[in-house]
Symmetry: C3
Subunit: 206 residues, 3 copies
């Protein structure tokens, strides 16, 4: 049972890595980056959040370095954008937003779960979920020398916090890891997509 | 005696965390950040320096993650600014500068002390004091996509180096940890406030 | 034999640290940084890549912190620029580019070598070579609030990848560590300088 959950979590984590690599490589468009710069963006976006989380909770070397599958999947996602860009630019713009929301949801839940396994208190597990989900995009925006989008636009970090908190609370109430993960991921994804669809924003800081 | 010093150091560290969270959340003003973005700035400013130091000296997971009190105090400082902002904006501007100088002093001394405890040589302990003091503000400025203020304005990093060096030297000369910490913190605070009051600057790099 | 190689590697690493400190301090020119800010740039450029690599592969505390020689050499390189700047500005501009290429080559090979010693797979060792070589310059550019040059200009990261890959492959084919290191470093340096001389660029990301 536990092993089955580990495999599920790895699958979710790799799925999140793949979609974030696509989102990251797409962000190179218009920034004047060369092909390798775009690939660096793909890697940073896909692996940055998990690496920062692992450094923070002391799980070194980070899973993204220890396990070759993460880098391979990130490479595949970035290369897909660069090779098939004529096809990618014709995708509906909403699809990229949905992929990004899916990556955020998968990472928020996986990050909080990993923090719980490292015996961090619930409060910090939720924070680590947010760091995992939003960290990659933050590093990508730092590389692009702009204020990280996640700090100023829409409901983004808040959706990650909500999803991670829902998972942690569900675990505390006795839900199985799988049920708790699905609950948290669905809530995060729904919150993020609802905010985009309805143009919901947090109030601007005074 | 040693335990009393540990408690003193923790108190100083948490006090520094609180004032840096206030300074960080206040920096969101005018940057178009939302409430959560402002809170992220508060956390980064308050916890970033100590986290970088702990990663560098191999004390993982960092104290700011392991001990829930750091995140709680950072949250309280950031929330105070956001809830009482009408009251905060009426504070004399010099008070924010003084709070920032207090945080710098507390962190420079606490950082150098922690590096000494990890058996780093004196030279690197002083560097770690500077990293702890100036690291949070540097990360905050990176998030705001501007050249870190600490690299270009006034006597800032230099004050942290002076305070950390004074503490390390005093320890070497046989002073008790408490006396050395007070000496270093007072020197750093005095150097920083004097530089602000008299508009002292380091020469611009040629 | 192995000890002799260790000493060779340390020498190459310190040589790379020295030239990158010179390059870093020189980058302060025109950015309005003060003397200490220029020194921070020197340290970041010289030590940043190796520190990030050591954090990623779990070799904490990083060698640049554990071994006082790194910080001392970085300090010497930065101070040399600041003290002799009238002499430095009269150097032919190509020399700075060549020094930077030399640092990149030394770090790419040393980084990949250190990753191999940590039992990372070959693919990740090459990545770690690129991180070590290009990481310091990336952090420097983040501090200067500009899109990292290494992401958008010339053949830079690619040269590091080529040099690191050549070293890893040569090791696999039975070459001695010294021969493999020289081969990789020469290839990286030649690729970088050729790209600069012939204005070779990677295609811009679509």
């Amino acid at each position: 049972m536990e092993r089955r959950f580990d495999r599920l979590l790895l699958g979710l984590d790799l799925a999140g890595t793949f979609v974030f690599a696509i989102v990251g490589a797409s962000a190179a468009h218009g920034a004047g980056l060369d092909l390798l710069g775009a690939m660096v963006l793909a890697f940073s976006t896909a692996l940055g959040g998990g690496i920062v989380r692992d450094l923070l909770i002391g799980a070194t070397p980070p899973g993204a370095i220890r396990d070759w599958r993460y880098a391979t999947v990130a490479f595949a996602g970035g290369a897909a954008v660069l090779f098939f860009h004529e096809w990618v630019v014709r995708l509906p713009p909403g699809l990229l937003v949905a992929l990004d929301a899916a990556g955020l949801s998968l990472f928020a839940v996986a990050g909080a779960q990993k923090a719980l396994e490292s015996k961090l208190p619930a409060f910090l597990a939720v924070l680590m979920g947010a760091v995992t989900g939003a960290g990659g995009g933050t590093i990508r925006d730092l590389f692009l020398a702009r204020v990280p989008l996640v700090l100023r636009a829409d409901i983004y970090v808040l959706a990650a916090i909500a999803g991670a908190a829902a998972m942690v609370i569900a675990r505390r109430l006795g839900a199985s890891p799988t049920v708790a993960a699905i609950l948290g991921a669905v809530l995060c994804f729904a919150a993020r997509m609802t905010a985009v669809a309805l143009h919901l924003h947090l109030p601007i800081a005074p």
